[in-house]
């Protein structure tokens, strides 16, 4: 699936099925929750004064296991957290990073907000979509400002920020993601130095060499 329309809670864009019985909190005895998922949800719940604060971390953990916030994933989280599936559905549908449809396992978020678009993001997105938009392994999306305008145009590939990207980088980027290799190592934000020339009073030559910066 390529770019998604803006997400709304079900019941907003699609009518709610009024014939169905409202779903209750799933019964622990009849709901099968994988042990590892249960543990990570319970760990998250223990970190907050109010366990409901764990909704996002719990949904995120379920999404990692199931690939998306499927009805089954929501059911399992609801069971452990002791809330209704509808409550979690309302949360999951609010946030861009929680998927309400099945998606490819490799995410490519191409930032198309102002600074990236001034530096060519629209053509970049088009190129990524043309090469991977129909590939079931990929979840290619136009994304709002990812907070990395210093490497515009950029993308977040499975959570790793890379840029500035040229159209010629796209095949390598996709190959790296597909193969599970570090994506475009020389273009990863992680190794970039601060732009401010006054920032560093000392020289850090070993670090500078790895930075991949011109």
């Amino acid at each position: 699936m390529s770019t998604m329309p803006s997400q709304r809670a079900s019941g907003w864009d699609q009518a709610v099925d009024l014939e169905k019985e409202p779903a209750l909190i799933p019964d622990d005895a009849t709901t099968d929750v994988p042990a590892e998922l249960r543990k990570s949800i319970e760990d998250a719940m223990a970190r907050y004064p109010d366990s409901r604060s764990a909704a996002i971390p719990a949904l995120h953990a379920a999404q990692q296991l199931h690939g998306w916030c499927s009805p089954e994933a929501i059911e399992q989280v609801a069971c452990v957290m002791g809330v209704t599936p509808a409550y979690l559905d309302s949360v999951a549908s609010f946030y861009d990073m929680l998927e309400n449809h099945p998606v490819g396992r490799h995410s490519v978020y191409v930032c198309t907000n102002i600074s990236c678009s001034l530096r060519g993001a629209d053509a970049l997105l088009e190129s990524v979509l043309a090469q991977a938009g129909e590939d079931p392994d990929f979840n290619v999306r136009a994304f709002e400002c990812l907070g990395a305008c210093d490497i515009a145009p950029m993308a977040s590939v499975d959570g790793v920020y890379v840029g500035p990207l040229e159209l010629a980088d796209v095949p390598q980027l996709l190959d790296d993601a597909r193969a599970g290799r570090p994506v475009l190592p020389a273009k990863q934000l992680a190794t970039r130095l601060v732009a401010d020339p006054h920032a560093n009073s000392q020289e850090f030559p070993a670090h500078a060499e790895e930075s991949g910066r011109p």
Binding site: S6, A9, R47, Y48, P49, D50, R52, S53, A54, A55, I56, P57, L59, H60, S90, V91, F94, Y95, D96, M97, L98, Y109, N113, I114, S115, S117, L118, R119, F143, E144, C145, L146, G147, A148, C149, D150, I151, A152, S156, G159, V160, Y161, L189, A190, L193, V194, A195, D196, P197, H198, A199, N200, S201, Q202, F204, A206, H207, A208
Partner: protein, 339 residues
């Protein structure tokens, strides 16, 4: 440019680890603060004139003083949901100097009497969040967080909470709802978070850069800090410069220098053969200025007087190759999607 507080040795290898941070004087500000009374720490924050670095520019010390006194559960929430288009300064701070933020949180919570704290970081910032989690574990191990910090009576828990992608959660009350595990819808104000914030308790909410400045203020003293910058905009500020410039990136400036000095002197000016058509001085929410405004001093009041705002400190440069209508449409579509 003379004073570098936030970006001092920012690229030193290993600065994100406790050993290197301590070696360059890290956590001495916390020791100093804990030897003072909370009221004396707050006094320094108020004397510094530090204004919030997230967008609204409210006096930080005053914000702390709004929290009710007395024994009750109070919260400190660090807003790390950096989402204003063009802004990427907090990311750099968290990724490269996470302990400075943690130290700032420990000091500010002491001044505010808060015993539980949270960093709400946007879910897209995977690397900075991982680095913060590692730093948090180190700081807890060393006794800079937890029960009776460094033998004082101040206790503080800290949780790094990852969001899941929503611009509106950068707004403080939307952020609180999101942190409570709900849809991130903003609340009506009043009540203000200082009285009824997280879990309906008194809550101090500050931006990453604001809190990261607290150790420096504690060490140098509020009055000394207030000598930096200009009268109504004290101190140094991180600016994120992007768009059509030669050297996009983060720069630490003394507030009140000319905008031209930042855009041309630091960021290298427009791309070869191009001219600036317009610029956003403080993120895409800030009204656009023109080349005629380039000599406006870069501080809160001067930019407001020029008809715009300093906002988050994100300067976006647009050159003469860009059709303005297309740009305006793009910005409007963003706000529609996030509304």
């Amino acid at each position: 440019m003379t004073d570098v507080l936030l970006f001092k040795d920012i690229d030193e290898p290993g600065l994100n680890t406790l050993a290197v941070y301590e070696a360059r004087g890290g956590y001495t500000a916390l020791r100093k603060a804990l030897a003072m009374t909370p009221a004396a720490v707050l006094e320094q924050l108020e004397a510094s004139g530090l204004r919030g670095r997230g967008g609204a520019g409210f006096q930080m010390g005053k914000k702390v003083s709004f929290l009710p006194k007395g024994a009750m559960s109070k919260y400190l929430v660090c807003n790390a949901d950096e989402s204003e288009p063009g802004t990427f300064k907090d990311r750099e701070l968290m990724q490269k100097n996470p302990h400075m933020l943690i130290e700032g949180i420990a000091i500010a919570s002491y001044a505010a009497g808060a015993d539980r704290s949270f960093i709400y970081i946007r879910g897209e910032y995977v690397l900075p969040a991982d680095i913060l989690d590692a730093a948090l574990a180190e700081a807890s191990e060393a006794g800079y967080l937890g029960e009776d910090i460094l033998g004082s009576e101040h206790s503080l828990s800290l949780v790094v909470h990852r969001g899941a992608g929503a611009y509106i959660c950068g707004e403080e009350t939307g952020l609180l709802d999101s942190l409570e595990g709900k849809r991130g819808n903003p609340r009506l104000k009043p009540p203000f978070p200082a009285n009824q914030g997280l879990y309906q308790g008194p809550t101090l909410i500050n931006n990453v850069e604001t809190l990261s400045t607290v150790p420096a203020i504690t060490l140098m003293g509020g009055a000394e800090y207030a000598k930096l910058g200009v009268q109504s905009s004290t101190g140094t500020k991180l600016v994120s410069v992007s768009g059509h410039v030669q050297r996009p990136g983060n720069y630490e400036i003394e507030l009140g220098i000319s905008s031209r000095e930042i855009i041309f002197g630091l960021a290298g000016g427009p791309l070869p053969g191009r001219e600036i058509k317009c610029w956003f001085p403080g993120g895409s929410s800030a009204p656009v200025l023109t080349p005629a405004d380039l000599d406006v001093p870069y501080d809160f009041d001067s930019l407001a007087k020029a008809g715009s705002m300093l906002g988050s400190g994100a300067i976006i440069i647009v050159d003469d190759s860009t059709p303005i209508v297309e740009l305006a449409t793009k910005v409007a579509k963003f706000y529609r999607h996030e509304s």
